[in-house]
Symmetry: C3
């Protein structure tokens, strides 16, 4: 996939069998040119570890803000890597190259509008412009895909309110139970 | 309609002419096999009586979680039975067989996203997983269709916040005025 | 355009070069017949002046509640008049002739669901029926289009919560910075 770079799958804890895989997609033109946005994916992983107790491994992708490339990345993480959860970071604003929600909707079989509503509502306490985020969430087979903002601080704020709904959603779409911290 | 069972139309008060008809659709695989989900429809009616003062009659349907069957049930309640209001119960989650919102959107001419937003926002006070409900509302001709959760307690919580908007909505789409308790 | 009436472009301050143009569309069957709904557009302009410090000029249109006519009006204000911001007033309810959100969605390349959510949520403090408004917002090229209710008081209430997000949104879609009061 042109423009996409991969980090190796990294086990968090090699002593325990890990079945829980989380895909992290950073949508970023700069990042995909190898500049600095791998950092965003690392930050997402740090935030995930704060909230999720069950061991997990992650597959990172940094993809330019092109809808078809983000779609292919999401499909690959879901269908090939078998990620039960995919977190995207970035590309949710109103600018012409912000296309992550469109890519998400395109690959999902079911949308979950409540996730976007909840994240915007919560973020509004911190930034007056929260309402212009178009972030959403949806289901592809048994994968839950959730759009997050691109800024690490905003990612933590969003995770704070949606983490409590993640384990139940994953179970309802056919996955094993995971535990939060 | 295969898989659909009907309860007889039941007058609440036979002394007063009743023009107000409410359709109740329980989306449930178990219920449509004759197990126990007629109870859900009864509970919905109990909650409606708590909030609506104007006499009404109800038409109950218990339909399996199949989109085309739910669509046909909604169309029948609206077009044939002339229900001004239809309440669905169940089938709003993220699981593969939760298809009530899809069926609702498919038969409606206009969607009312504010109802789903409001119900999720309110339910969040009671359950952390409220954001994963996909419930919505819409208009088919002069019928207002509102999706509710499947659990009686959640139905009451939702009715509490949407009841105040029901009479005005019904009037705006061409129906007579009804009164709340 | 049959049924559409125009007010002349009116400079607010002729001493300063004005590049910021705001289109105001009043969707109203009565107004387009020349009755009294030009007043709505005037009220929208008054509210805009309370919130926006940067000089702007406005182009008013009063259009009947016909989707295709509203679409053509929005396209003209965006493509021909070069309005960076368009505010619509009215036509957001559930009635059959309320079609402003449909017209908006039809001409926009990107929707911003957070604006409608935020306005409904805020309006709920004032009217119990806020949830039945279907108002939304979206982007057509570098024009931000925002639906408002038809009542002047409700317009002010909505502007209060969305004004803080307007300057940043306009910049993100390629426009110059504007300042709020």
């Amino acid at each position: 996939m042109a423009g996409t770079r991969y980090l190796a799958v990294r086990p968090i804890n090699t002593l325990i069998k890990m079945d829980f895989k989380i895909g992290i997609v950073t949508a970023s033109d700069r990042g995909s040119r190898g500049e600095y946005d791998f950092l965003t994916g690392e930050k997402v992983m740090d935030v995930l570890k704060e909230y999720i107790k069950t061991d997990f491994e992650t597959v990172h992708q940094v993809i330019p803000d092109e809808q078809d490339q983000i779609e292919r990345g999401l499909i690959e993480l879901s269908d090939k890597h078998g990620c039960q959860l995919i977190i995207t970071a970035g590309g949710t604003g109103p600018a012409p190259r912000d296309v992550t929600p469109e890519a998400t909707e395109s690959v999902c079989h079911k949308m979950l509008p409540g996730f976007g509503e909840r994240m915007r509502q919560h973020s509004l306490q911190f930034v007056k412009t929260a309402m212009l985020s178009r972030q959403t969430a949806g289901i592809r087979n048994n994968t839950l895909i959730i759009n997050m903002p691109g800024k690490p601080r905003s990612i933590r704020q969003c995770m704070e309110v949606i983490a409590p709904a993640i384990p139940h959603t994953l179970q309802l779409i056919g996955n094993e139970k995971i535990e939060l911290q």
